[in-house]
Subunit: 88 residues, 5 copies
Amino acid sequence: MITAKLVGSIWATRKAEVLNGYKLMLVEVVGGKESGKRMVAADVVGAGVGDRVLVTTGGSARKMLGDDNIPVDAAIVGIIDEDCCFEE
Amino acid sequence: MITAKLVGSIWATRKAEVLNGYKLMLVEVVGGKESGKRMVAADVVGAGVGDRVLVTTGGSARKMLGDDNIPVDAAIVGIIDEDCCFEE
Amino acid sequence: MITAKLVGSIWATRKAEVLNGYKLMLVEVVGGKESGKRMVAADVVGAGVGDRVLVTTGGSARKMLGDDNIPVDAAIVGIIDEDCCFEE
Amino acid sequence: MITAKLVGSIWATRKAEVLNGYKLMLVEVVGGKESGKRMVAADVVGAGVGDRVLVTTGGSARKMLGDDNIPVDAAIVGIIDEDCCFEE
Amino acid sequence: MITAKLVGSIWATRKAEVLNGYKLMLVEVVGGKESGKRMVAADVVGAGVGDRVLVTTGGSARKMLGDDNIPVDAAIVGIIDEDCCFEE
């Protein structure tokens, strides 16, 4: 997984039908050499803008959604505790 | 998924037969540290040149095409709304 | 797999239920061009902060956890011997 | 998929038996930020040195070979038409 | 697959039991933009230090080991012939 900051929502009215109902969030990697890399992840834990989150990628993201047929390759799997310190 | 801009079509007369009928589009990542990375994605949502799109990768792309045997590793799954702002 | 150094724990009180019970560790790649890249990996071998570890990624990480439905994309699979030298 | 140029053949007399019979080609990414990245891909479309090709990666490459047990993670799936222009 | 040079062995006395018996080798990418990237790969073709090798990654590496439950994400699948020239 990667540590990332939730920076916004992504709205796409025209999209694959199977994606309906999923919240798609724009996240940005924090910490380490890939800091600043962005991706769009489905959120099922109720994270908000500004939260530091854990994002899982690839087939593991589909496991999070409970449906292996959803064409999603990144999912927010947790919200990092505010008092959990790491060098950003 | 990644946020990307659709920059053109890719034509390949000689290709794997199973790819016949799929529109292959050249997209370029927008926003974040990987901005400018390019890939070719299959399009099934009817995106056009200049559209900002959501692209899913890996096995998740095959889910989008509804056939797990298509040798495609990237697919356009949505068109980002024009009034959806994010720093490019 | 990659060679990495374990740099800390990640705490996420709010997370996917299926992740309960897994130790999530922040690791940083050591050696080679990607040195400094960070990721969060599940640990089942009992590694500690400062240990140099082997990390496997993607679907292979889920194999390590013995449950293909855990949304984890990186796992610590070994602790590199202290007298195993390689240029960091 | 990625757009790449076929730059040569790779010969490996000692290799996994299941790879016998596959043409292994060295390709180099053209266009975009990852231009210059190299990989070795199995070719089943009959591409030649100098051709611009479409390369699919990961599990999708195995789909191309029609045998999910071949340990190949990249495959050439098409030859880009000569009059298909994109900024390299 | 990638072209890499075998630079050493990795010893990990404490590791996942399923990894027992596999030779874990440190390899470094040669050629192209990712030259210098390192990874640890399981070797089943008998490569030695200094050999130029072909490395397959992801789920394809597990196919090489003949057991889809081994938590390995990279495997050496061939030794590149000494007279096979490519720009490193």
